[in-house]
């Protein structure tokens, strides 16, 4: 099926305990699907609708189709100042 390199930010990094990891694609079709699967594994509290995804260093839609081999960054909303 192929795999992706996933990077995490802020709370997602803390909850997953890793900065990045290689994830094998299962039945997931989109980045939203992938985030859902990871949410179940790591108990991410933030819904997929509020997450920004960057694919190969460019913002993309969570509904975009997974592209095997891509570098994926999940970025939660951040508001501190």
């Amino acid at each position: 099926m192929g795999s992706l390199k996933v990077w995490y930010f802020a709370q997602l990094k803390e909850l997953s305990g890793v900065e990045s990891e290689t994830v094998t694609i299962g039945s997931e079709k989109t980045y939203a699907d992938l985030y859902q699967s990871l949410s179940l594994r790591y108990r991410f509290p933030i819904p997929a609708e509020m997450i920004q995804v960057a694919v190969n260093d460019e913002f993309a839609g969570m509904d975009a189709e997974l592209s095997p081999g891509a570098q994926v960054v999940f970025i939660p909303p951040v508001a501190g100042g």
């Binding site: 933030i46 960057a54 100042g81």
Partner: protein, 472 residues
């Protein structure tokens, strides 16, 4: 009470007026005529006063001091006319139960007097002709040349250009305090400082504009006062206001650029949306522990917006802010300074690095990640700013609000058309409808622009649903 006198001030008599058996502290300030200023030898001074106005304003200042501080007695006397070296020009005295109130109120009165009273000073020198001293910043009482102030940066920026700009800083905390300071130092011509909060002791570790004596005071006022003494050559104003969805548009209206230095998503999105609606450039930053991010938006470019790839507005309940998760002053201040730098770049070049890419900093490892900003096709927030001619609301002959219709006023005579999935050419058939056409988009911005355009073409039966689909 407040008095003006052309006769020498008898300080002993004034001090007697402060006597009060409840008082545990007396603080007296005396302003004297000194023999030098800016390297020149002063022989004497002459004060001219606009008496009626000065009396009124002086009384007002004392009333304000009494409201602000818990005082027993308060007295201020200002001299005018000709004064010799060593004479008392102004006298302020306060008695209170405790020393803090006595110190603070005396300081407050003399600062306000210097700043607000219509009194002009003519300096007579030993070896030169006398001059009227115009003192823009009376709180520091310095008379420096503006070009000397910018001497060491004049080769990297256009000072005249920066001087012509009006910038708004929203939020005066860990980001806003250093950002505003850098903008003031750079010489932005008009800076407005906005915050609704008061200084708390837990702010001081990351907000370098405030010190322990400011705890409990309004941030905007303290920041204004301190920044005015850092650069007396620019206009600085403050506003004690909390930005909401409802007031954001009015609050940002007059500015060339806005800095979002706030710490919550609700305000961030309100500012962001208002900037897109009014086509005002925005530089936004946020931080989570050691992870900071910065991004600039230029609404009528095609670099996208915060809403392009989100289907839902993130809510503050799902994340935490600085007060909960903790952040180092060193990290958040660095990010605030970068924000000011990006704002200055934008004001000079009409573009900057964080317009093309959102930049994520890890202040722990000093690594960074750059993500290319992109506009999603049919993003209603972006389209509202880029659509059609580059006309702003002010350019329309018709009042933009007059084409808006409220959801409660819709009836069977209205036909609702969702323009979010139509290209503009699809909408040509509108001109043939006999019903009143009400255009609908996500936020009611794009639909209003379109309705206005049709109105200008002479179609009277076109309206826009106020607030858009969000209000349904």
């Amino acid at each position: 009470m407040f008095e003006l006198t052309s006769l020498p001030i008898v300080t002993e008599d004034l001090a007697l007026r402060l006597k009060e058996s409840k008082a545990g502290a007396v603080v007296i300030f005396e302003g004297w005529v000194r023999n030098h200023n800016q390297g020149k030898q002063v022989s004497r001074l002459e004060y001219q006063v606009y008496e009626q106005l000065a009396l009124k304003e002086g009384q007002k200042i004392l009333r304000e001091a009494r409201e602000k501080f818990n005082l027993h007695e308060l007295q201020c006397t200002h001299r005018h006319g000709r004064l010799s070296i060593g004479e008392v020009a102004v006298w302020v005295g306060a008695s209170a139960s405790h020393r803090n109130e006595a110190f603070l109120s005396t300081r407050f009165v003399i600062d306000e007097i210097k700043h607000r009273l219509p009194i002009w000073k003519k300096e007579h020198y030993l070896n030169e002709a006398p001059v009227w001293v115009s003192c823009k910043d009376h709180t520091t009482h310095v008379h420096f040349a503006e070009e000397d102030y910018y001497q060491k940066q004049s080769s990297v920026v256009s000072q005249a250009l920066l001087k012509s700009k009006k910038v708004l800083v929203v939020g005066l905390g860990g980001l806003g305090a250093p950002a505003a300071t850098s903008l003031v130092q750079a010489g932005i011509g008009h800076l407005t400082l906005m915050d609704f909060d008061r200084v708390e002791i837990s702010n001081l570790h990351r907000q370098p504009l405030y010190d322990t004596s400011d705890v409990g005071e309004k941030k905007a006022l303290i920041a204004e006062k301190k920044l005015k003494s850092i650069n007396p050559f620019i206009e600085i104003t403050s506003q004690d206001l909390q930005i909401t969805k409802n007031n954001a548009r009015d609050a940002i209206r007059e500015f060339d650029l806005v800095l979002d230095c706030t710490d919550n998503l609700e305000t961030k999105y309100a500012l962001h949306d208002a900037c897109f609606e009014s086509r005002i450039p925005l530089v936004s930053a946020s931080i989570y522990r050691f992870e900071g991010q910065i991004r600039s938006f230029m609404p009528d470019s095609s670099q996208g917006c915060l809403r392009c790839f989100l289907t839902k507005t993130p809510s503050d309940e799902t994340i935490s802010n600085c007060n909960e998760f903790g952040v180092l002053g060193a990290s958040v201040n660095a990010l605030g300074s970068l924000q000011a730098g990006e704002a200055i770049q934008f004001l000079i070049h009409n573009k900057n690095a964080s317009l093309k890419e959102t930049i994520y900093f890890d202040f722990e490892t000093l690594s960074l990640l750059r993500i290319k900003n992109k506009k999603r096709e049919n993003c209603s927030t972006c389209d509202a700013a880029t659509l059609t001619d580059s006309l702003s609301d002010a350019a329309w002959d018709i009042d933009p609000r007059s084409v808006e219709i409220k959801i409660s006023d819709l009836d069977s005579n209205h036909e609702l058309i969702d323009i979010r999935n139509h290209s503009e050419s699809d909408l040509k058939h509108l001109t043939r409808s006999h019903k009143k056409i009400v255009l609908l988009c996500e936020h009611g911005i794009r639909s209003r622009r379109l309705a206005l355009r049709y109105r200008e073409l002479g179609l009277e039966n076109i309206f826009s649903l106020a607030g858009g689909a969000c209000s349904l």
